[in-house]
Symmetry: C2
Subunit: 333 residues, 2 copies
Amino acid sequence: MKINGKTVSFDNPPVIAGSAGVCGKKEGEGPLAQDFDAIFEDTTMGQQSYELAESAMLHDAIIRALTNAQVSPSDVNFILSGDLLDQCMGSAFAIKDLEIPSIGLYGACSTMALSLSVGAMLIDGGASCVAAGTSSHFCSSERQFRFPLEYGGQRPPSAQWTVTGAGCAVIKSKGNGIKIKAVSIGTICDLGITDANNMGAAMAPAAEKTIYEFFRDTKSKPSDYDLILTGDLGLTGSDLLYSLMEEEHGVDIRNVHNDCGLMIYDLKKQDVNSGGSGCGCSGSVLCSHILKRMRKKELKKVLFVATGALMSPTSNKQGNPIPGIAHAVLLEV
Amino acid sequence: MKINGKTVSFDNPPVIAGSAGVCGKKEGEGPLAQDFDAIFEDTTMGQQSYELAESAMLHDAIIRALTNAQVSPSDVNFILSGDLLDQCMGSAFAIKDLEIPSIGLYGACSTMALSLSVGAMLIDGGASCVAAGTSSHFCSSERQFRFPLEYGGQRPPSAQWTVTGAGCAVIKSKGNGIKIKAVSIGTICDLGITDANNMGAAMAPAAEKTIYEFFRDTKSKPSDYDLILTGDLGLTGSDLLYSLMEEEHGVDIRNVHNDCGLMIYDLKKQDVNSGGSGCGCSGSVLCSHILKRMRKKELKKVLFVATGALMSPTSNKQGNPIPGIAHAVLLEV
């Protein structure tokens, strides 16, 4: 790897050899339905808890991604995964029977970009095959961060809807596939946001910082990309990102930006307020819809920037701010 | 890196250029007192919560380690850190103002070995300087996993005492220091343990697996090491590890094994039941006492194997087992 500023570039870019994105019923009723690798009508996945349902969904995405990349678990040097739940239990139970060396990650909703970034660096360093994945589940997430569903709490307009879904990508050192040309690990941004129902505002400054630094380090501009894809800023966070990019750096990214949280649902019909969120939002959208469009050459150069709100229920109840982080991955075919 | 089985070895071993281990009052009354880089009599660290106290302690360890390695935060390509708290808030708040690209890890009490392992692989891949750290705090951990201290719950003999402490090591690509010759990322082991007061039993099978595989991959035996150091198996877990190694593999590691959880407290006098535990246990002991002994050449070849019980309070209350994991790091001077 070569490091310039915050950006790591690869002379021999690692390759995404296969991927899969799976989701629940509500996501399967949205605009991206035809691109998901599986849609589970029963989002309990036949499990006794929502948490184990999330694990079952991630396990399914991992197996599909391995199959898509034509590798078996024993071919995988490392699996990198994390999720939103207490002590990343979603990933632990998804992975535990696979016998793959496991690097547990925590990056909140930035996990898909974090796992791809670290995975790509490990491949560049000499590993031959890694898997990168993440998941979220609406029901486990509401119980974890806000209220149990049974409580029937109301949600403000800035609130987002946690995606029930999972994604996994298999990265190899050589072969055909989508190239990971560069990655950028973000620094933590804390602007003092304390509202657990306004994740977009907590994450937008981190996205702005990482995108701006990526432009700076690679001497590129918005028009150099077919798509700048954020993870789950939603409506509120995307608007804030546009304002921040214009006010702070004089850069307009509107024409080239989209957000997985805005793409996965029909915001007019599906009653999801500010859009989708959760690790599984960018995980499932990137690993199905986006990578499929790239394989068809409909998109050739995508800057994927997943953002995370590093929100702990304990910390939030204690009145602490919610720090944000964003990691970037440059994908090219 | 070269990968043989589960073990990654380095032709040009990354170097631990500096480190620091800090702890609280109780740990400062134990046998390793003189080797800690700081002992905080006030374990609230002047913060408003135990959680923020943990963050302040980790922040202190990071700054001391950077100073010890004579690097500034802007020299550090990546910081790798994680902890036991909900959504790793200990690390997020410790790191957020350092402006260092942050790779959040989750490995429970295995985090010190996980952060060193991934850090060493990133250095080998081309990074020039990374920091690897972790922390735990008795009071934040009891609130998180068992009962708030105010409840005054009784503890069974197999229970361990979460160490209030933090450790950080700075790894560089060249220079003087302790060499990281090889690392091994573990696979998750689940033997169906459900008792949150018997972490040793949940983690011992993972330690056995990782140590055995490391011996196999490197064609080595216990007598090749000055010390095989587990993280926090405690009395119960260490005894179980000896039995498993003998029964499963016919290997006796008693003469060469010690456990950070047994070293940090005087078990006869300090009322800690089965010994110390927590990410900060192996973090603080390795980064102070052990690395200092290695720098003095009192120990030349140490196999550090930190184990983690991937225990989520949510999962545990739902009756799920506690999977374990262990990662290994071979240190040499």
